[in-house]
């Protein structure tokens, strides 16, 4: 159980961060524009941030982010339909290459409710599948706990880094459930179903797990770099959260999950079930 101490501390800190954000906003993660309502605009312009701020002084401009390649990403707060119309026509007449996304506040609320529901349902669904696969409480619980820790820690990191909950980051958190379970299932299957010493089995699994994480990390990292250069906000958001999640997943698989399994195999009733099952 010693292994679990570091993840436990990180988990507690993350839960604290989520709690603080919850008190502040009513949601565990800062809701972004997709859920609060507002307008997001991607443009390519050589104007400076100050110029842009000045030219949109009449509108509730929240932030201007700069990408490379003169790409700018503008966020506006919610406004009424008429103002939306004047703003969009102003943007379209001034910038030819614009991407505009506008979400009304009530639609945002609907999206937010559905996104929360999706997160909860996904998690429950995943837990059921994991329990069905392993049919043995402690190992299944270890996988579910690791996945839970992944999501909570990633969400905590999002709050810390100021990444908001949007449609993209919701998708990324859901995808993390999948990524997280991948290496956990490998570890658990290796430990429960193979013959041999526990430490050797963990080592073998770690070898495979390490390469799994690095290849996935590589693919997502490429996506992250390119979407940053290209100014593709939604892909950038998804890949950022996935990268953070992969790092936490690595820790949770090899410390949290492995720690619980080790305790289960040495002190719990795991010894019995391995000898019953035999290896193959």
């Amino acid at each position: 159980m010693k292994l679990c101490i570091i993840p436990l501390i990180v988990l507690i800190i993350s839960l604290g961060l989520l709690g603080m954000t919850y008190m502040e906003t009513g949601l565990p993660i800062q809701p972004g524009l997709d859920f609060k309502g507002g307008i997001a605009v991607s443009i390519i312009t050589d104007e400076s941030v100050d110029d842009i701020k000045a030219s949109f002084a009449d509108y509730p401009l929240v932030s201007v982010n700069e990408g490379i390649n003169q790409g700018k990403y503008l966020k506006f707060g919610p406004m009424d339909d008429d103002k939306v119309r004047t703003l969009t026509s102003a943007i379209e007449s001034k910038y030819k290459d614009a991407k505009i996304d506008h979400i009304g506040s009530s639609f945002g609320k609907t999206l937010q409710d559905q996104a929360m529901l999706a997160l909860i349902m996904s998690f429950i669904g995943m837990a059921i599948v994991v329990f069905v696969i392993f049919r043995s409480f402690v190992p299944a619980a270890a996988v579910v706990i690791s996945a839970f820790a992944d999501m909570v820690m990633s969400a905590g990191a999002m709050n810390l880094l100021g990444i908001q909950l949007s449609l993209g980051t919701t998708a990324a958190l859901l995808m993390l459930i999948g990524y997280s379970v991948d290496s956990d299932i490998l570890l658990t299957s290796r430990v429960l179903k193979r013959k041999g010493k526990f430490d050797e089995k963990i080592q073998g699994a770690f070898h495979t797990g390490f390469i799994m994480t690095t290849t996935t990390f590589g693919a997502i990292f490429a996506m992250w770099v390119i979407s940053w250069i290209g100014g593709i906000q939604i892909i950038w958001e998804i890949s950022t959260v996935l990268l953070i999640g992969l790092i936490f997943d690595f820790m949770n698989t090899w410390l949290t999950n492995a720690g619980i399994l080790k305790w289960y195999m040495t002190e719990g009733k795991g010894k019995l079930s391995t000898s019953q099952r035999g290896g193959n």
Binding site: D81, D101, S106, A171, L174, D182, I211, T214, T216
Partner: protein
């Protein structure tokens, strides 16, 4: 080699790849390389608008006669109220649950369920009206999606207009058509009778007389409008000689209806104005269809319920093209990154090449599947790359399971281990599918594509490419 290809897993994989390439059909076209891939708005340029209905579908319980309840409620709300089932009504007004509860309690009625939105039937009507409006403006490449919840109530409708700016899109949706009735004077000359603003109400298409096979739409004019109509009809000869002086309805410059006054109406118009008119559209199914269309025209393209813009967005075509290029680059670099990572681990081109090939071919198969029923947008492409990430994970699991202790086992043991590896893979695939299912079923706008592509990716991987990889890698390693 031949033996490997004959293996059914490898054969299926090869057939899928070839079929996919045929489906995608890359070929040189006037603007560079063309394919059958369907691109969504954010890659091809255009606008979307999502509208929310100001209406509600309500289930109620009371002891009052239903007809009376509906007409009383309609008066109280000053809104159209339609009975859908014996205990369910559609209120075509933006009324909140609280407001309705207060009104209901005054009518000794219990509010059982309240859902914002309209019935599926009304939603389809609205879709038809919007389609018509868009077509009449010459914007051909438009898609309209009725978004219906699991409870059968539709709250939103989404319009996607390719190659149209957001300002134009807002105009199209907000714009009312210009409707005019004219009367034919001589062969191809006509005179103005009334504009659409004098049409007070329009009924749904109905048989006229009732239960006959003759279809028509009745509509009512304001008293002033009816008088104008009468005078024009008398002045231009439509009353005396109806058959040579058709009445013509024109919407945005296009003739949508033309027919003479009925003998009966011509007779009565001489004496007095008639505010209630019926436009007959003919017999049978075609008459019914025409009547539906005419109803839309008579309504000036106005929707039966009020709508608000819930969300909207646009991407310029140039930016869409740039996004396409970046997405392609992201995919290629992701594959290269995967290749490098795998090479560092195995140092064996015989393993690395098939891995990367399988990975790339999974993307090709998925792209081919998307051409049948979905569009590629940015979220879908992010999903594709995320799939690439899980897919390589699973190829690594297979490789490591098989190469246990660095040795290539005998064919017998090999198949046993491959089975075990596939077991792990199926388990993790099942969890990904379950995790993504809520997103695929809900309508969280752009994320549906992301979820569907992830699920498809996992299925293609488990059913086709990973078993094939197991066989291919065996053939290579046992050389």
């Amino acid at each position: 080699m031949i033996e490997t290809i004959k293996d059914y897993r490898v054969a299926i994989y090869l057939i899928m790849i070839i079929a996919s390439l045929i489906v995608i059909f890359p070929h040189p076209g006037p603007s560079g390389l063309e394919t059958n891939l369907q691109f969504g708005l954010d890659l091809s340029g255009g606008s979307w608008i999502q509208l929310e209905y100001g209406a509600a579908v309500v289930t109620f319980k009371n002891t009052m006669p239903v007809d009376q309840f509906v007409s009383d409620l309609s008066k109280k709300l000053d809104a159209e109220v339609f009975l859908i089932e014996t205990d369910k009504i559609e209120i075509r007004k933006d009324v909140s649950e609280e407001e309705l509860k207060t009104i209901f309690s005054g009518m000794q009625t219990e509010l059982v369920a309240y859902n914002k939105g309209v019935t599926k039937e009304t939603a389809e009507d609205i879709k038809r009206i919007l389609e018509n409006k868009i077509n009449s403006l010459g914007t051909r490449d438009a898609k309209i999606y009725v978004i219906t919840g699991l409870n059968g109530v539709s709250r939103y409708v989404r319009l996607e207009l390719a190659g149209v700016s957001m300002t134009q899109a807002q105009e199209i949706v907000g714009k009312q058509g210009k409707f005019e009735i004219r009367v034919v004077t001589t062969a191809n000359q006509s005179e103005h009778v009334v504009f659409g603003d004098v049409i007070e109400s329009v009924a749904n298409p109905a048989q006229n007389p009732p239960n006959s096979n003759n279809w028509g739409v009745s509509f009512a004019l304001t008293p002033d409008g009816a008088e104008q109509f009468r005078q024009a009809a008398i002045e231009h000869g439509a009353v005396k000689d109806p058959n040579n002086h058709n009445l013509v309805m024109i919407l945005d410059g296009k003739t949508v209806y033309s027919a003479p006054l009925s003998a009966e109406l011509a007779g009565s118009l001489q004496a007095r104005a008639s505010p209630n008119l019926i436009a007959s559209t003919g017999v049978g199914e075609s008459g019914k269809e025409d009547a539906k269309l005419l109803e839309i025209h008579l309504r000036n393209g106005a929707l039966p319920v009020e709508v608000r813009i819930a969300g909207s967005g646009s991407v310029s075509a140039e930016l869409g093209d740039q996004f396409k290029l970046w997405c392609l680059l992201a995919g290629i670099f992701a594959l290269i990154a995967v290749g490098i990572a795998v090479f560092v681990r195995y140092h064996e081109p015989g393993i690395v090449l098939p891995m990367v090939m399988i990975n790339a071919s999974e993307i090709i198969i998925l792209l081919a599947i998307t051409t049948f029923f979905m569009q590629l947008d940015l979220a879908t492409i992010a999903g594709l790359i995320a799939v690439l990430g899980t897919s390589i994970d699973q190829l690594v699991i297979i490789t490591d399971e098989i190469l246990h202790e660095g040795k290539v086992p005998s064919p017998n043991l090999y198949m046993k281990r491959l089975k075990r590896a596939l077991g792990i893979i199926i388990a993790s695939a099942a969890t990904i599918v379950i995790a993504m299912l809520p997103l695929a079923l809900m309508d969280l706008s752009s994320l549906r594509g992301f979820a569907i592509i992830t699920i498809l990716g996992v299925l293609v991987g488990v059913l086709v490419t990973r078993p094939a990889y197991g066989r291919i890698i065996m053939a290579i390693l046992s050389k």
